[in-house]
């Protein structure tokens, strides 16, 4: 549906977008992730035909955005970072104008607007001047504008920015719903949003494409392979001895006591070896209850930070450098788990 090849945009000496290529399949929801100033908006402006690229090509449904702009643009609905609204118009007038602009059939216009107004929930403000609308409503009018003419592709540049949490959830649900019938490219710098809505994620940093995969795969690929945090009830010495008997463990480290009567351990297994069953059986044999075992997969947020951090500031394979990260993650797990055992302990006291 969308083919982007070797896209480059230079502003004088500054390279805003550096040789980016990707394709989006029909019906896909693609997340476009990157820190501020990474080139997200520039890329979106190029693929909607607002800007021209210095190099490379954009094809929408086979139409080149530069050679055949009118047909290519007919397939796109675009919500820029700042919704392009005429403040002197009412919502209905504005949508009517956009219908004319996108050459929606005169006979279908009224029904089409009514349908979109109900989908994005603008009914109660449809006769108000846009200048009197709140940010959340303006954003929705912007979204409605993009949907007019039923374009197959929707390009949404930070659609939830500046909205309150309830509105964010509504817009996200709406995008998910739209995703069933449209191809959507959505930019954001909010990880949860992208992982909640998108089927595939592209991360760009300083104009370069640094990753492209499903949120799950990304977090698998980027996680330290086969690392676990486990919590075992018992004495540290006894547990360490027992763990020696599990084959496939490459490295282990005690993380100390996080909960009374238990010890946490960090384990690293050889790649492609699943040690979890052996681990459970061995500990059970030694009568050491395994309270939890947790794979240390990185969240999308961690991946994002890792990928967009300055080069050289981190070393991937160095275990030591990453230990600090694990401790933080471990702590989180503890605080989540802590509540139950406390009440258990009280019962024991009685």
């Amino acid at each position: 549906m969308i083919e982007i090849a070797n896209l480059t945009k230079r502003y004088g000496d500054k390279v805003a977008v550096d040789n980016i290529s990707f394709t989006v399949k029909k019906g896909e929801i693609l997340g476009f992730l990157g820190p501020n100033g990474a080139g997200k908006s520039t890329t979106m402006n190029i693929l909607t035909g607002y800007l021209s690229s210095t190099n490379g090509s954009v094809k929408i449904d086979g139409h080149d955005i530069l050679d055949d702009p009118v047909s290519a643009k007919a397939h796109i609905g675009y919500l820029p970072e700042q919704p392009p609204l005429y403040l002197d118009m009412t919502v209905t007038e504005y949508l009517d104008f956009v219908c004319d602009l996108k050459k929606v059939d005169k006979a279908e216009k009224e029904g089409h607007i009514a349908e979109i107004v109900s989908v994005v929930k603008l009914k109660e403000v449809k006769d108000r001047l846009i200048s009197n609308l709140s940010k959340g409503y303006r954003q929705r009018v912007g979204l409605a504008q993009a949907m007019i003419g039923n374009p197959e592709v929707l390009v949404l540049d930070e659609p939830t920015v500046g909205l309150d949490p309830k509105q964010i959830i509504e817009i996200r649900d709406l995008i998910k719903k739209l995703g069933k019938a449209h191809t959507i490219i959505l930019s954001s710098h909010i990880m949860q949003e992208v992982s909640a809505v998108c089927e595939r994620v592209i991360i760009i940093n300083k104009g370069k494409l640094v990753a492209s995969d499903t949120p799950d795969n990304l977090s698998k690929a980027m996680s330290e392979e086969n690392k676990f945090q486990i919590r075992v009830k018992g004495e540290e010495r006894a547990i360490l001895d027992a763990l020696q008997g599990v084959s496939g463990i490459k490295y282990m480290k005690s993380l100390g006591r996080k909960e009374p009567g238990t010890i946490d351990f960090l384990l690293e297994a050889a790649p492609d070896v699943d040690i979890r069953v052996a681990l459970f059986e061995t500990l059970a044999k030694h009568n050491l209850p395994l309270l939890f075992s947790k794979s240390l997969e990185l969240s999308l947020e961690d991946i994002f930070l890792k990928l967009t951090r300055d080069e050289g500031a981190f070393e991937f394979d160095s275990f030591v450098a990453n230990e600090a990260d694990f401790d933080v993650i471990g702590q989180d797990a503890v605080s989540e788990a802590q509540q139950e055992p406390v009440s258990v302990e009280k019962e024991e006291d009685e």
Binding site: V70, P84, L101
Partner: protein, 246 residues
């Protein structure tokens, strides 16, 4: 193009700009008409036309200043430039909307000769030609205003620069005269002086306008105003198109 024309024309009358333009034009024109024609009982409207031409220099910048500049400032150009329309449709639609406001003004001013008729005979043909000249010059001035509006996102700068260009054009005839008379009469300098003067003379709009105000029907000045309007609209389209490539 029709969609943009329609929106733009409505916008002129949603903001005070449309009313200011029409009101100011007609008010000042009426004063000139009263002083120049009614008070003296003069049936010749030649002076009236030149005076309204001066009013243009003030009101046309107001008419055209927001046209493209406002779109860029409020980022609504992102809607227009990513919609399935050509850049030329956008610019021409806006140009024609401003021309439509001018048309309304000229039509209202056409009432003046009918007031004169109440008092006696008038040379209707000559007056119609004068109005044609006034209209065509306005169209050309609007195209300059549109071009200035594409060059900036600040309405005030667009208005002031349009005013400056129009003022310069208005005095171009005397500037050109000054250049050709103050240059040496012989030698290479004289040739350069003559060339410069003839280039400046090309932009002497008052000289072309004079034909109309005197009631002379001549195709050359008609063609002159229309082709300059075409040129400036074309340049505006190029400027907007060019911005994509920045």
């Amino acid at each position: 193009m029709a969609a943009i024309f329609k929106r733009e024309l409505k916008a002129y009358f949603k903001s005070p700009i449309g009313y200011i333009f029409i009101g100011l034009c007609i008010l000042v024109a009426a004063v000139f008409f009263w002083i120049g024609n009614l008070a003296y009982g003069l049936a010749n409207m030649g002076t009236f036309f030149s005076n309204v031409g001066v009013v243009y220099i003030i009101v046309i910048p107001i008419l055209t200043m927001r046209s493209m500049a406002e779109e860029r400032k409020s980022r609504t150009d992102q809607l227009l430039m990513t919609a399935p329309v050509r850049t030329s449709d956008i610019v021409i639609g806006k140009f024609l909307a401003a021309v439509a406001v001018l048309t309304i003004t000229c039509v209202v001013m056409l009432l003046f000769p009918f007031i004169l008729r109440l008092y006696g005979e008038i040379a209707l043909g000559e007056i119609v030609i004068g109005f044609l000249g006034l209209y065509l010059m306005g169209v050309m001035f609007i195209s300059i205003g549109i071009l200035m509006s594409t060059l900036t996102e600040n309405q005030v700068i667009a208005a002031v620069s349009t005013g400056a260009v129009l003022l310069l054009l208005w005095f171009m005839e005397s500037i050109a005269g000054q250049v050709s008379s103050s240059m040496a009469t012989t030698g290479a300098l004289a040739v350069i002086g003559q060339i410069a003067a003839s280039i400046l003379n090309f932009f002497a709009v008052t000289a072309r306008f004079a034909d109309f105000t005197q009631g002379i029907f001549n195709l050359v000045p008609i063609f002159y105003f229309l082709s300059l309007a075409f040129l400036f609209v074309f340049l505006s389209i190029r400027v907007v198109e060019r911005r994509r490539w920045r």
